[in-house]
Amino acid sequence: MLKNYFKIAIAVLKRRKFFTFISLFGISFTLTILMVATAFMDKMLSPSYPDYKRNRSLYITSVALVNSKEGWYNGSSASFYLLDHYVSKLKIPEKIGIFTFSGKANAYVNNKKVVMEYKYTDAAYWEIAEYQFLEGKPYTKQQIDNMERVAVISESNKRNYFGDIKSVLGKYIEADNVSYRVIGVVRDLPRSMRNFYGDLYLPYSIIKGNYKDVGLQGGFGAVLLAKSEADVPKMKAEYQQMISKVPTNNKDYDKIYVNADTMLESMSRKLFGNEDSAGISKMIAIVSLFILLFLLLPTINLVNINITRIMERSSEIGVRKAFGASSRTLVYQFIVENVILTLLGGVIGVFLSIVCIFLFNQSNILPNLDLSLNFTVLLFGLLICLFFGLLSGVYPAWRMSRLNVVNALKAQ
């Protein structure tokens, strides 16, 4: 039976090439945009270099002080004191990595300006983030305690600062007039990895200025790593309990908000949430509304064309009905035909997406961000295809099944 439907569907597609082209164009283009967008989202949210343990990590990125009476708000990142004195006392996390958010420093090599983003970290950071070392290795706790001026640099920083030389281990790199001995070179990562991005990684003990101040806000962030994914809720609960006991020590503010969020939570909190709620449900609602609106136009277009094509086949429908085919069979047949059409459009869409993603990766608009069409994205694309096929097939099929036999045959 299905084979028959398939044959008919192909025959119909061949009959009116212009209409087929319009349908396929609409489906494949819409799908391409959605697939490229999901590839982006996938890259942002799922584990990728160097943050492969994302599924069992929580991130502390901001500290907000609030005066609930006056409505004052003061937001910043966390202080070393808060992370070292309170957060690092937690029992459940397997490891806790502390780092600063990157700042920029200038260096001048042969009168050429090199801008590097420097980042101070502790030793555990290197165990949590799995950087790929092209040469050398990270600094150890011992080196941090000794306040050694050592640095791990990124591949692009090596190229910009030292030029095309093979090994830079043991050489000195100068930033803001301080020299650091290079002990490692890591592969580049995209700028979108806000917690991990840097060109020059330094031990936190050699920070300029005083980082040990007793206060809650400073330039630091932390990543908490649980032993397994199942431990994450437990770790979060322990964290919440601990943080609720931290005093503000500041007469102007009576409340502090320091959230340990998963990647998805911290993203939605930034866009749609506030201190109290991460706004995940709000994000899902807004994103799905947007996708629905985006799909509306191609769908109406497809329904329109489908109706036109179906009315063209009124004589065929009339004959089949006259010979006793039930409305249900006809509806079923038409939906199958339509799904075949959309799947065909889907295949073209996948092909177009691969081309788009390839072009995007080549263009280097966002350096080091290599999108890929992975299994999740493909599955998502397939689902959209089926959804499309059903949505644009049901209404025309229903209209068709109500055709009167006499009128349908007379139209001939």
Binding site: F19, F25, I33, G103, N106, K208, L296, N301, N304, I305
Partner: protein, 392 residues
């Protein structure tokens, strides 16, 4: 004529329903895109309000361990003197971190005669700030030594218009109701588009940095001479590192930050236009297909019209106007929704932006429908009455 066309469309309202909704949705999409483009374009045509060429910014971290206000001031005044003595540096001013294109914001707000004025950009500047950036003075004067410990403020044109209209602003008192928040306007400056070339300046409030502010100020703006090159920048960086102890300093060129600020607007805009463009091509092809098919369905009717004396061009004119009739219905409904934007003042954008966008989208939809129905109309004109009626 119109009555006749309307009757024809009304009789087929069921078939036309999808056609109508498709035009309606595309109209809304086009309206959104045109609103965005009009907004950007109108802002782009406004003058920048200052000169970003040869302006460099220096950001430094404040790690100096001096707690006493006076000594701190001495320390930074010394830096100022040293920098001033460098021949390549023409002008120099300390500034709060929200100088143009810096991605940093500080806002304030108050109500004036019952009108809400917030948000107002709050800039903290020095006496030479206007010389560094070349800001044009429209009324009154810029800050000078007399303003020491005075509550003087310079406002920009937009804020002046919002508060005083066309009256002169110099000498007026503005601010919140509390006595310590009263400020005396001493001058009005031209709007400075600090958010990039595509964004409006907004309302701005310039205050003079007071003597205690070196505790929190972390930026210096420089106007350098044309001779300043990379070698000079390297020397300057060394000099700064020597003078400002224990600090990370970053020198940026305002032309570069301007470019990156503009590309923050341009790249999403290009993505938007591309997606909307593809949607429109999609819709256009769909409309074209449906109209073409409809005309083939109406061969009998058209044949009859030709037989009783209609010319080919009048038949094709009729078909094109039928589609335009349908488009008009959608546009009326769409305009009803679109007009809510200026009426409700959504996103705080000037009504003129929405009106221009509305007119553009109406013209665009008509053009689209005409283009899509022209060829099917021509086909209809070519129908020979004898053949068409013979088929019937």
């Amino acid at each position: 004529m119109f009555k006749h066309l309307f009757k024809l469309s009304w009789n087929k309202r069921k078939q036309n329903f999808l056609f109508l909704s498709e035009i309606l949705v595309s109209f809304m999409v086009i309206f959104a895109v045109f609103s965005l483009l009009t907004f950007y374009y109108l802002n782009y045509t406004l003058p920048k309000g200052f000169e970003s060429e040869r302006v460099w910014s220096i950001a430094y971290s404040r790690n100096v361990k001096i707690n006493d206000n006076d000594s701190l001031r001495m320390y930074y005044e010394n830096i100022r003197r040293t920098l001033k003595a460098v021949p390549e540096i023409e002008e120099l001013s300390f500034s709060s971190s929200n100088f143009p294109y810096s991605n940093s914001h500080s806002t304030t707000g108050f109500t004036y005669k019952g009108k809400e004025m917030s948000p107002i950009n709050n800039y903290s500047v020095e006496d030479d700030y206007n010389k560094v950036l070349g800001i044009k003075l429209l009324e009154g004067r810029w800050f000078n030594k007399e303003d020491l410990n005075q509550k003087s403020v310079v406002i920009n044109q937009t804020l002046k218009q919002a508060m005083f209209g066309d009256e002169p602003a110099a000498g007026k008192i503005v601010g919140a109701d509390k006595e310590e928040d009263k400020w005396k306007v001493i001058g009005v400056v031209a709007d400075v588009k600090a958010e990039g070339d595509f964004w409006p300046a907004g309302k701005s409030f310039y205050k003079r940095l007071d003597t205690g502010s070196f505790k929190w100020v972390g930026d210096i703006l420089l106007k350098v001479s044309p001779k300043a090159d990379a070698a000079f920048e390297s020397r300057l960086n060394k000099l700064l590192a020597r003078m400002i102890q224990n600090s990370n300093t970053e020198i940026r060129h305002m032309e570069d930050t301007r470019e990156s600020k503009n590309s923050d607007t341009i790249i999403p805009m290009i993505i938007c236009i591309t997606i909307a463009g593809f949607l429109i091509i999609n819709v256009a092809l769909g409309l074209f297909g449906v109209l073409w098919y409809n005309i083939n369905q109406r061969r009998g009717e058209i044949g009859l019209r030709r037989a009783i004396g209609a010319t080919g061009s009048s038949v094709s004119f009729q078909l094109v106007s039928e589609s335009l009739m349908l488009a008009t219905l959608s546009i009326i409904v769409g305009s009803f929704f679109a007009l809510q934007f200026p009426l409700l003042n959504v996103f705080n954008v000037a009504a003129s932006v929405y009106i221009i966008a509305l007119l553009l989208s109406i013209a665009f939809i008509y053009l689209l429908v005409i283009l899509c129905s022209l060829y099917p109309g021509k086909q209809a004109a070519a129908i020979r009455p004898a053949i068409a009626l013979h088929e019937e």
